[in-house]
Amino acid sequence: MNMLQHLRPALVMMVLFTVVTGVVYPLVVTGVAQVALPYQANGSLLKDAHGQVVGSALIGQNFAGPGYLHPRPSAAGTNGYDATNSSGSNLGPMDKKLADRINGDAKTLNAESSAPIPADAVTTSGSGLDPDVTPANAARQIPRIAKARGMANDAVMAIIGRATEQPALGFIGQPHVNVLLVNRALDAVRPLPHRS
């Protein structure tokens, strides 16, 4: 069998694939997406009153202040939540580095509250950009947030409740609280004292 007889089809076919699946297909999807679903197509961006992009509804970001709902620890980039460096910790369950980190985080969290710490509060996500925390994790932070903002616990809880998503159909996925949406709502309801 002569391999060369396949040379032309192989090369031409590859060019055709590149044109059809590599150029036409993504461009068609992009074109239609930009017209029909611009919000999603551009990254579900959230803007403040001045039109400044404050983040994406889908991408977690760092929150350190006591008045904000805190996200999970993140292994993306050196300081966490670096969206140009999505990554998990990739530490194995027996890794001493993991035990040390969790121990350290647990100490901080135990100082804040005596409530049991949910696993997600001391573990990093797979992407390092997890936008969510578990309802238990959020609930544990309510007293701290309420105190920092001078709000009633119930008011904070209500805001968290509105940002909580239940599993699809009741059993697909896990209930989760979107941190950025909660914090935006908190800022809208009761801006932090030190900010205007």
């Binding site: 993504p26 460096n85 194995g92 027996m94 950009l129």
Partner: protein, 568 residues
């Protein structure tokens, strides 16, 4: 473990397997060149392809011709992709001004995408231009998937033939599978995923000012169009480093469900289409059942293990020690992550929605075992089917003798030639995997890349080569694989896993096609019932177990026992 968790796992798998039927019946029409409702649009394009390539679609090829075409096409794809990756720095659509890849990384990446492995030694968002993602990787996501399905179609025709010699025309199969199956499904589902929040733009990044006043650069791009074919074609190469754990690749439970379904449904569909074309619908159902039982059991076992307490959590104060959330997204939790892991390692997809490296020893170990079984439950599109058929042939050969006849499968006698090629195909996996792994385990150059020591580090090595040889592409991602040793050996392993498997399979197909098609009698071993399913499972598990028991014992199994005692 919760009932919701079990319900989610059961629901995901049932819907996926059920969808295999309509997909398979449709695919069989495409394989056999029958009319479809896409004809008005696709047929003129199809004819254009043939005209430009100068091929006659009705001209059948023998196994050698078919295999040569397959190799040439893959070779052309490799060269083109290698070139793009090397020179992306001077090509357009590179807003972040990424430089070209190093030779070893470009070699690794090109072979990785051409072989449907999609192992990523790089992080997409910080390495690849939009042009490379689209015209380079997305193209191979289509091409390698279509080529795999084409080989499966050839095998199906071999079983259907009665003293024939032609396996079909590779170029026609490639074109039809792409234009009638992959492209239309991708077009539709890309928008469904888009609606869930996956970006699709030619822009590369957006700067945000966070509520606390920090700057966050959000990387975006033409993600949706690549995401769908990445799953549909069991490729698994993500736009982003974190793959489908990244919220932009997999924003919510619905996107997760869709991505899970498409990464297995089409592979199951290939089984069904094989049954239709080879006149063996019931037998194909048995293969589906065997694959379904393995992937379902694996999902359940992973779920059980991922809800075990882990030492780091157990020994931290006031921490709820379960589930094992390290490396998992909150929106997915243990159930979504477990079922995904089983499906992606059973399917040679390799996309991940949680980090396997951070799984419990047996949670990750089962994923590793599924990969080592050779990616056939249901495997990569096409490649899973032919892997399963090879196992069925070995099962029929060994056990079939026990009914007192020369073994036959789907009406074809299994004789020395078939056994030879089946053994050859199955031999290459352990040889490449264990061979490279054993060298890497003692090579300082290789050990530098490990992020863990002890059994976990060994698992990293085993997983890397398993993933490469099995054309899976997922990783114990702690491994720093972008180094000459890893890039090169993994690249070779990927090539062997793809071509040193598919070529013997095609040779076997050639020999099968030439045989007379025998009519079954009461004395023929039935290959369509529960009994055969159990037999096939036994052969897959025992043969797989026997090949990999020692390394598994030294990696995940011993780590499991260590973890149990550390939890005390």
């Amino acid at each position: 473990m919760t009932w919701q968790g079990w319900a989610e796992i059961a629901f995901t798998l049932s819907v996926t397997i059920a969808l295999g039927w309509p997909l398979g019946l449709y695919m069989a029409r495409v394989w056999t060149g029958q009319k479809t409702w896409l004809d008005p649009v696709a047929h003129p394009i199809e004819r254009g392809f043939y005209a430009l390539c100068g091929v006659k679609p009705d001209e059948g090829q023998g196994w050698l011709g078919y295999a040569s075409a397959f190799l040439m096409f893959s070779g052309a794809g490799f060269l083109l992709l290698y070139l793009i990756l090397r020179v992306q720095g001077v090509l357009p659509l590179n807003p972040l001004h990424f430089a070209g890849m190093s030779p070893h990384l470009a070699f690794n990446t090109a072979i990785s995408f051409v072989t449907n492995t999609n192992w990523q030694s790089y992080a997409g968002e910080s390495t690849l231009s939009n042009l490379s993602q689209m015209a380079g990787l997305t193209v191979q996501n289509f091409a390698s998937a279509a080529a795999g399905i084409a080989v499966a179609a050839a095998l199906a025709r071999a079983f259907a033939a009665n003293r024939g010699e032609k396996l079909g025309n590779f170029w026609a199969d490639l074109t039809r599978v792409t234009l009638y199956i992959l492209l239309p499904i991708s077009l539709v589902l890309a928008f469904v995923l888009l609606a869930q929040g996956i970006p699709q733009t030619l822009a590369a990044s957006v700067d945000a000012k966070t509520l606390e006043g920090a700057k966050q650069t959000l990387v975006v791009g033409p993600v949706a169009s690549q995401e769908i074919i990445k799953q549909l074609g069991t490729n698994g190469g993500g736009f982003f480093n974190a793959n489908s754990a990244h919220p932009f690749e997999n924003p919510n439970a619905w996107s997760n469900l869709i991505e899970e379904i498409v990464m297995n449904a089409l592979a199951f569909g290939v089984f069904i289409a094989f049954g239709v074309v080879a006149f063996a619908r019931k037998e194909a159902r048995a293969l589906v059942a065997a694959a379904a039982i393995i992937v379902s059991s694996a999902a359940a076992l992973i779920y059980v293990n991922e809800t075990l307490p882990t030492p780091a959590l157990v020994h931290a104060q006031h921490v709820v020690a379960t589930p094992n959330m390290e490396g998992k997204e909150v929106r997915f939790g243990a159930p979504s992550s477990s079922v995904w892991t089983a499906m992606t390692t059973g399917a040679s997809d390799g996309g991940v929605n949680a980090m396997h490296e951070s799984y419990t020893p047996l949670g990750g170990g089962i994923a590793l075992f599924l990969i080592k079984l050779g990616e056939m439950t249901p495997g990569g599109v096409g490649s899973g089917l032919y892997g399963m058929v090879v196992m069925a042939i070995i099962a029929v050969f060994v056990a079939g003798l026990m009914v007192g006849r020369t073994p036959e499968y789907l009406g074809k006698k299994v004789e020395a030639r078939e056994v030879k090629f089946a053994v050859l195909a199955t031999l290459i996996l352990p040889t490449a995997l264990l061979g490279f792994a054993a060298i890497a385990a003692v090579l300082p150059e290789a050990l530098k890349g490990l992020s863990a020591n002890g059994p976990h580090g060994l698992t990293e090595i085993l997983y890397a080569y398993g993933s490469a040889v099995g054309n899976n592409g997922s990783a114990f991602a702690g491994l720093t694989a972008n180094a000459p040793w890893w890039d090169t050996t993994l690249g070779i392993a990927m090539g062997l896993g793809r071509f040193a498997y598919a070529i013997p399979v095609l040779a076997m197909a050639g020999s099968i096609a030439a045989k007379p098609k025998l009519a079954p009698t009461a004395g023929t071993l039935p290959t369509n019932g529960l009994q055969f399913v159990l037999l096939l499972l036994g052969v897959i598990l025992i043969l797989g177990g026997l090949q990999y028991f020692p390394p598994l014992a030294l990696g995940p199994i011993v780590e499991h026992f260590q973890m149990l005692s550390a939890n005390r």
